[in-house]
């Protein structure tokens, strides 16, 4: 193998790895706060990417209608659970978040969508749409069963993945889509060429890691989220609303997922079901990080990306087999490192 190929594969691996890192971070975040293993993370990627790609062609993506529909269901749930004590303030707040916000989003999308809409607007719209879906997804699917076991949450998570992926096919069709690049800048360093796109990938990944670190280490909300992760009952006893923590976690995860999607859709063609596999690779990284460590997750994600790049070069047929088998030794090490005294089962 010559150095050029080596460098090229490394670069490819690092770029993909950075995306997996973003997803891995989001997965760690959601798991820590809500104990949900977020299988539909991949759908956030696809929804973000393909909504952006459709907006770029001037079409209104179906996801925005989904956001409205989910908002209505979420509003209904809010009303149902508060049925014994309907206070005007509560109803108004819920209506603003669950009804007014997605409908406003729908209206704006229809108003501005067109072939000439600036990229920045399209990005903002895609992010908002996916953020709304993420928020409502927590409200509808997970908040009512927030107290159940990790296993029940995991199965519910799988259910959400199935439903969202099926809807993805309805919204985007079976054909793959590509989106316009964020910028056309390119740098050359020796044999390597850095596109603006890949630089954006690196930059955003690093920015997110730093931002998350600051958020959890220093802000009151961040600490409250951590507290929820450590001890739900303890958090409630000091007045932290765990439902709010869950919503924030899902909101962050969906935004991170959508950003990842928007970052890769100009590089590779995405299909309605591509997200699942991408998400799973973020998972592998998250698991290597033990579902708790952000820096370890980021490093692991880059490694996954590199392994993937090399195996697709040498054994492209067995790329997925290699990547998914890679996880087993890691899991064993993780389990061995876990304390011998057992965890109380929930």
């Amino acid at each position: 193998m010559n150095t050029t190929i080596l460098l090229f594969l490394l670069q490819d691996g690092v770029t993909n790895g950075a995306i997996y890192a973003l997803l891995g971070l989001a997965l760690v975040l959601v798991f820590a706060v809500t104990r949900v293993i977020l299988i539909p993370q991949g759908e956030f990627v696809t929804y973000g990417a393909l909504s952006y790609a459709m907006l770029a062609t001037g079409q209104v993506p179906g996801t925005v209608r989904l956001a409205v529909a989910m908002g209505i269901v979420a509003f209904g749930l809010d009303l149902f659970f508060a049925r014994k004590a309907l206070r005007a303030r509560l109803v108004l707040r819920s209506a603003a978040l669950n009804i007014a916000f997605p409908i406003a989003l729908l209206a704006v999308t229809y108003a501005v969508a067109g072939p000439k809409t600036p990229i920045a607007v399209n990005i903002a719209l895609s992010l908002l749409i996916v953020a709304a879906i993420g928020l409502f997804l927590y409200r509808i699917a997970f908040q009512p069963i927030a107290h159940t076991s990790v296993l029940v949450l995991l199965i519910a998570s799988v259910g959400c993945h199935l439903a969202l992926q099926g809807l993805g096919l309805v919204f985007f069709g079976a054909e793959g889509l590509r989106g316009p690049a964020l910028s056309n800048v390119a740098l050359t360093a020796g044999p390597l060429r850095f596109t603006g796109q890949s630089l954006a990938v690196y930059g955003l990944t690093i920015a997110f890691i730093i931002a998350l670190w600051l958020f959890f280490g220093y802000s009151k909300t961040g600490k409250a989220l951590r507290a929820t992760a450590v001890n739900r009952l303890g958090a409630r006893l000091v007045g932290i609303r765990t439902t709010l923590s869950g919503q924030i976690a899902f909101l962050l995860a969906s935004v991170i997922g959508a950003i990842s999607g928007i970052l890769i859709v100009p590089i590779t063609t995405l299909y309605y079901d591509t997200g699942f596999l991408i998400g799973l690779k973020g998972f592998i990284a998250a698991i290597i990080g033990g579902l708790v460590s952000y820096p370890l997750t980021a490093v692991a994600a880059i490694l996954v990306g590199i392994v993937e790049a090399f195996s697709s070069f040498y054994a492209s047929n067995f790329k997925e087999v290699i990547v998914f088998t890679l996880i087993l030794p890691v899991l064993v090490l993780r389990s061995l490192a876990a304390p011998a005294v057992e965890e109380e089962k929930d």
Partner: protein, 589 residues
């Protein structure tokens, strides 16, 4: 036998269904699919519902079963009946290899691990040349008996449902046995089971293999039913679906698997055929509805349909009372009935930089009650865990009857005649008191999984249950013998743990806070029981916070503070010891 009656009725109903005049052939196909799915789900019931090991990868084992027969029959012309053992063997071997890794995974790593290798294997199936890549293998011959070829759905129907019935009977037999109790104890964590000699990794591997073999059987039947095999039905989606079936039916209930398979297969069919009429020809709509229903179901009935159904039935299954006249032979014990039973020499345990037990030495003599006291975090439970092998000591030595234990695992320590209870009660709440206590006698039985499935273990089983019943009577809980352990008060659960420990026929009993949660009179009764055990030749080492109880009962007291032994002596001496007063008792002891 009233217990067999529902089974016989079920078998007859299944047998006559194809003879109902005018039954649409399509229904038989559905029933075939239900049977195939039920087989896999039954394995999951044992694996996930009973054993607590969640697997998303069962579809891959169907793949092993199906591809084995597909390759052997098409490429090598082997007869389908001969490939049955081969299919089961291949699935079993795959399960051993994957299982060795998988059962070591803890917590949520395990389900995630199964997702990972499930997907990996799916890609492997779809990339390997000799498995026909994505197209798979077709032209698999049908099953045949003599000249009778099972070509149509209603002929293979019997093969499928006979397999389901046999699997159900074997699974239920297995659950109601010594091995079954060990498996059922897994879900509550391994520490309690290991303390009574259960080899938990082996028990986990056993259920893992059992579930895989059932899946392999389903795959073998599937291949001869479809007469073709391709990767799609063995992918991640299918693996998820099987788990869904088990959860819908009620993970943990053998018949829940059949019921769940029925519900899910029919539901899918209905969705696939009617949704396009309602919403137009959109594809994948059933996946969407399916996913939504899954979420809904978990919100409305997280424990599944079968238990919900059973709780609405008017009759309750009767329980047999064990015949207490049967006796287990006493455990072979060393002759020493006097002298030092347990000798701890400078035992030390460090967790990172924290010294939990700091060079602690003490002894327990034969026929003696020794109490270990000290504040929480003083290292009392850690000391217990060192003695029983749950933790390995950083340094120091522990001798039982003069023989060094040398960091033996709990399963070996219990064989020396040291049994224990736990500070945080570790019973299986959905097992009866009798079944829980019988786990204590695990090492005094010998029947394995196969003999349990075939009901060859009944004599052994009866002796174990008799011993358990005798110990329950001894601690005064005979009235609660058939209640679920989880329904008892915490105080009573602690007493159940003592009965379980007594089932070991121990010479040294380690009790971690046995009096917590007992009222004054119950404490007196417990003290009387412990004195009686001592006078019968047993020694007791106990951790307890109730000073009244300890001072009254113990022959000797060892005081720990911050992991260090600060005093040792008779209750009177301890009460007067200035160090103990300063560190622990305070002025008004």
């Amino acid at each position: 036998m009233t217990q067999r009656l529902p089974l016989v009725i079920f078998a007859i109903v299944i047998a006559v269904i194809p003879f109902i005049p005018g039954i649409p052939p399509f229904w038989i196909v559905l029933l075939d699919n239900i049977g195939l799915a039920a087989l896999v789900a039954m394995g999951l019931v044992l694996l996930t519902g009973v054993g607590g090991l969640t697997s998303f990868g069962q579809a891959a084992f169907c793949g092993f079963g199906a591809y084995t027969t597909a390759v052997l029959t098409t490429a090598y012309g082997v007869s389908p009946w001969l490939t049955l053992p081969a299919s089961l063997l291949v699935s079993g071997i795959a399960a051993v290899l994957l299982g060795i890794v998988t059962v070591r995974l803890s917590g949520h790593y395990l389900p995630l691990g199964t997702i990972a290798w499930g997907i990996g294997l799916f890609y492997l199936f779809s990339k390997l040349e000799f498995l026909g890549r994505n197209d798979g293998i077709s032209g698999i011959p049908p099953l045949s008996i003599g000249g009778f070829r099972m070509l149509s759905p209603d002929t293979i129907y019997y093969a499928i449902w006979i397999a389901v019935l046999i699997a159900a009977i074997l699974t239920m037999n297995l659950l109601d046995s010594r091995t079954g109790r060990a498996i059922r104890a897994l879900r509550r964590g391994h520490v309690a089971a290991e303390a009574f000699g259960v080899q938990t990794p082996r028990a986990k591997l056993l259920v893992f293999i059992y579930a895989a073999v059932l899946a392999g059987l389903s795959g073998w039947l599937y291949a001869h039913f479809q007469r073709a095999a391709n990767p799609t039905p063995f992918g991640a989606q299918a693996g998820i679906e099987y788990l869904f079936i088990a959860v819908v039916g009620g993970a943990g209930y053998v018949w829940g698997a059949v019921l769940g398979a029925g519900i899910v297969v029919i539901l899918k069919e209905v969705l696939q055929s009617y949704l396009p009429y309602i919403f137009g020809g959109q594809s994948q709509l059933e996946t969407i509805v399916f996913g939504i229903m899954l979420v809904l179901l978990l919100q409305l009935a997280p424990s599944g349909v079968w238990p919900w159904l059973m709780s609405r039935l008017p009759f309750k299954p009767a329980r047999k009372t064990p015949d207490t006249s049967l006796k287990l032979p006493a455990r072979g014990r060393a002759p020493a009935t006097s002298g030092v039973l347990l000798h701890i020499e400078k035992a030390r345990k460090q967790f990172g930089g924290v010294v939990a037990v700091n060079d602690v030495s003490f002894e327990v003599n034969a026929r003696e009650i020794v109490a270990l006291i000290g504040p929480n975090g003083a290292g009392k439970s850690t000391t217990f865990n060192l003695i029983t092998g749950v933790l390995t000591a950083t340094s120091g030595k522990i001798f039982v009857l003069g023989k060094e234990v040398e960091n033996a695992p709990p399963q070996e320590v219990v064989k020396l005649g040291v049994s224990r209870t736990f500070q945080h009660v570790k019973l299986v709440p959905d097992m009866t008191v009798l079944e829980n206590v019988a786990i204590g006698a695990h090492l005094r039985g010998s029947s394995g999984a196969i003999s349990s499935m075939l009901r060859l273990d009944r004599a052994d089983e009866a002796r174990l249950l008799a011993e358990a019943a005798r110990q329950i009577e001894r601690v005064g809980l005979s009235d609660q013998i058939d209640q679920l352990a989880g329904s008892l008060s915490l105080g009573q659960q602690r007493i159940v743990e003592i009965a379980r420990a007594l089932c070991v026929d121990p010479m040294l009993l380690l009790l971690d806070e046995p009096a917590a949660g007992l009222r004054h009179l119950e404490k007196q009764r417990l003290a009387a029981l412990l004195r009686q055990l001592r006078d019968g030749g047993m020694s007791v080492l106990l951790v307890e916070h109730d000073m009244g109880f300890v001072m009254d009962l113990a022959d000797r007291i060892v005081v720990l503070d911050f992991g260090t032994k600060i005093a040792e002596g008779t209750p009177a001496a301890i009460k007067a010891n200035p160090d103990v007063i300063k560190a622990y008792l305070g002025a008004a002891a």
